[in-house]
Amino acid sequence: MQLKVDNMTYSYGGKEAVDNISIHVNKGEFVGVIGPNGSGKSTLLKNIYRALTPDRGTAVLDGEALFSMSHKKTALKMGVVGQENEVPFDFTVEEIVAMGRTPHKKLFEIDNEYDREITNHALEHVGMESMAKRSYLHLSGGEKQRVIIARVIAQESDFLILDEPTNHLDISYQMQVLDFVKRLEVTVLSAIHDLNMAALYCDRIYVLKGGKIVREGTPKEVLTPENIYEIYGVHCDTAIHPLTGKVSITFLPASVYA
């Protein structure tokens, strides 16, 4: 087991946004966290990647207590792709990706040949090598997200946390990002907004509602019309798609269902 979180609780002054949650992620798994807006997906992940400090609870990463680890050591074991990827200052694509090497560097150490190799390799992985010298400021949203994925590749950690990485992207970029991540063959814990995407890419899914885990299991077990109605309050029809072999969800508007 790569990550194990036990009884984690976090509140934004009064109301519990993450309420006594326990989850685990096995090595090599792609685990999704789904749930309505404001269900605490992002808060849960932020507590795990230490942008927030939980009120209660423990977490173990690679057999070591996560919250007493140094930030640098955490960064060597765990890479994060967040929602906010705007950088209001002028950096080249290459410079942004090279920042992924930070946890590997000592205080006075400057980037060496190996760092540059990894940076180039990461850019190739996401098909951005021709943009290396471009300014990050002027990229499109999808391109920025690819650069951030390249940065997390350069970080060389074998556990990734993705906080709704495809939020503002159109469908081609959404799939591209998740394909890039899948191809890395690392352990992933990702908040995912789109249920069909979750069905396509996840090995296991946790469902969050009101800060609590209300369902967990494989996409087939979790993504049933009854569960989806209970969680989101919308009607739908599900089927196993003949090509993908995965659950495919068709949402039914009120006009059809009634």
Partner: protein, 356 residues
């Protein structure tokens, strides 16, 4: 872009930092020699250079004595401390700007705009009036200015944090409000107790001046500049990452809280000791990092040394303008930097709004 030609000159892909730094050092030296000669009494650059060289041990003896004693007195006694102070003050203000911009993740931050200069001035005048830190001797003024700067930075920073993020409108408005309050305090103190404050009057604190520079003023700001510069350069990766946002920086292994505290300390120290000797010279910390980034990009490993050198050059030249424009009267140098820097600030503000 107007700067494409310049950018090509400083081609970022193959940008050789050694060349850039050497070039800027050369420009600094030339500026120093030229500026030492300029003023009500003109001394030719040749003579200025020879006067300077004659002061250097070993090679000094071989320099032909082609100048008059009065020229030497003016260059060494009057102008050299002032020009050196200009270099140190310009570098410190620029580096303070860089540090504050990383702290609030906004390139509009500057010690003047965010009220830090005013806070430092007010604390310094208070310190003079009540002699609070008199037991610290000659550094009492600098220490009270440092404390004033630190309190203001912390105050403005916490006021402008909304839900864990720095809100730009809130940041600029709290900066304006705090400068007004602090300037008011300074004015009341300087007007009500004129004798106790000696040379330093309200105009000095509010518009800044390098006039009256003595070589004794130089040591502390210079030492502080060197130490702070070293601290920032060591942390250049952290500074770069802070610009990506606190969460990304944390996820890449930076201890964000500690780095932010360090930046507050460094920025207050540099602005405090600088303002204690030069008063408020605004917009330098805004202009210099901005043009530096246009030339060498956002990487702090480049931004820090290049800003320091460019800041020194800028302030030295603006100071020459300040003493030449309406000679024999002298303009406070801070007024000139405001006239040059203010429009740039408005331009940046408008461009920022257009982007959003």
């Amino acid at each position: 872009m107007k700067f494409t030609a310049l950018k090509r000159l400083f081609n970022r892909e193959k940008l050789d930092m050694k060349v850039v730094i050497l070039l800027l050092v050369a420009i600094s030296i030339i500026s120093v020699v030229l500026c030492l000669g300029l003023g009500p009494v003109y001394v030719s650059p040749g003579n200025t250079a020879r006067i300077l060289l004659s002061r250097i041990p070993v090679i000094g003896d071989g320099i032909p004595h082609t100048w008059q004693q009065v020229e030497e007195n003016i260059v060494i006694g009057l102008r050299l401390p002032r020009v050196c102070l200009g270099l140190v003050v310009g570098a410190s203000l620029s580096i303070t700007g860089v540090a504050m911009q990383a702290l609030v993740r906004n390139h509009l931050a500057d010690p003047f705009i965010l009220g830090v200069s005013s806070g430092a001035s007010a604390a310094a005048t208070l310190g003079m009036l009540f002699g609070t830190f008199a037991f610290l001797g000659r550094y009492s003024l600098s220490i009270s200015a440092f404390l004033g700067a630190a309190v203001t930075i912390i105050f403005v920073y916490s006021l402008s944090r909304v839900q864990g993020r720095i809100n730009m409108a809130q940041l600029l408005l709290s900066g304006v409000a705090i400068s007004m309050i602090m300037d008011g305090v300074t004015r009341v103190i300087t007007l009500s107790a004129p004798n106790a404050l000696g040379l330093h009057n309200a105009t000095f604190w509010m518009s800044g001046s390098l006039a009256g520079a003595k070589s004794g003023y130089l040591r502390l700001p210079f030492v502080v500049l060197l130490i702070c510069m070293a601290i920032l350069i060591i942390n250049y990766r952290g500074l770069n990452l802070l610009l990506l946002g606190e969460e990304s920086a944390g996820a890449l292994g930076i201890n964000v809280k500690r780095l932010q505290k360090l930046l507050i300390l460094v920025a207050s120290l540099m602005s405090g000791v600088t303002i204690a000797v030069s008063g408020t010279i605004g917009f330098v910390g805004l202009m210099v990092p901005h043009f530096t980034r246009l030339l060498v990009g956002g990487d702090h490993r480049r931004v820090l040394p290049v800003s320091a050198l460019m800041g020194g050059i800028l302030v030295v030249w603006v100071d020459v303008l300040a003493r030449m424009l309406i000679a024999p009267e002298e303009l406070p140098v801070g007024i000139l930097t405001a006239i040059i820097g203010g429009p740039l600030f408005i331009f940046l503000l408008r461009r920022k709004n257009r982007k959003n």
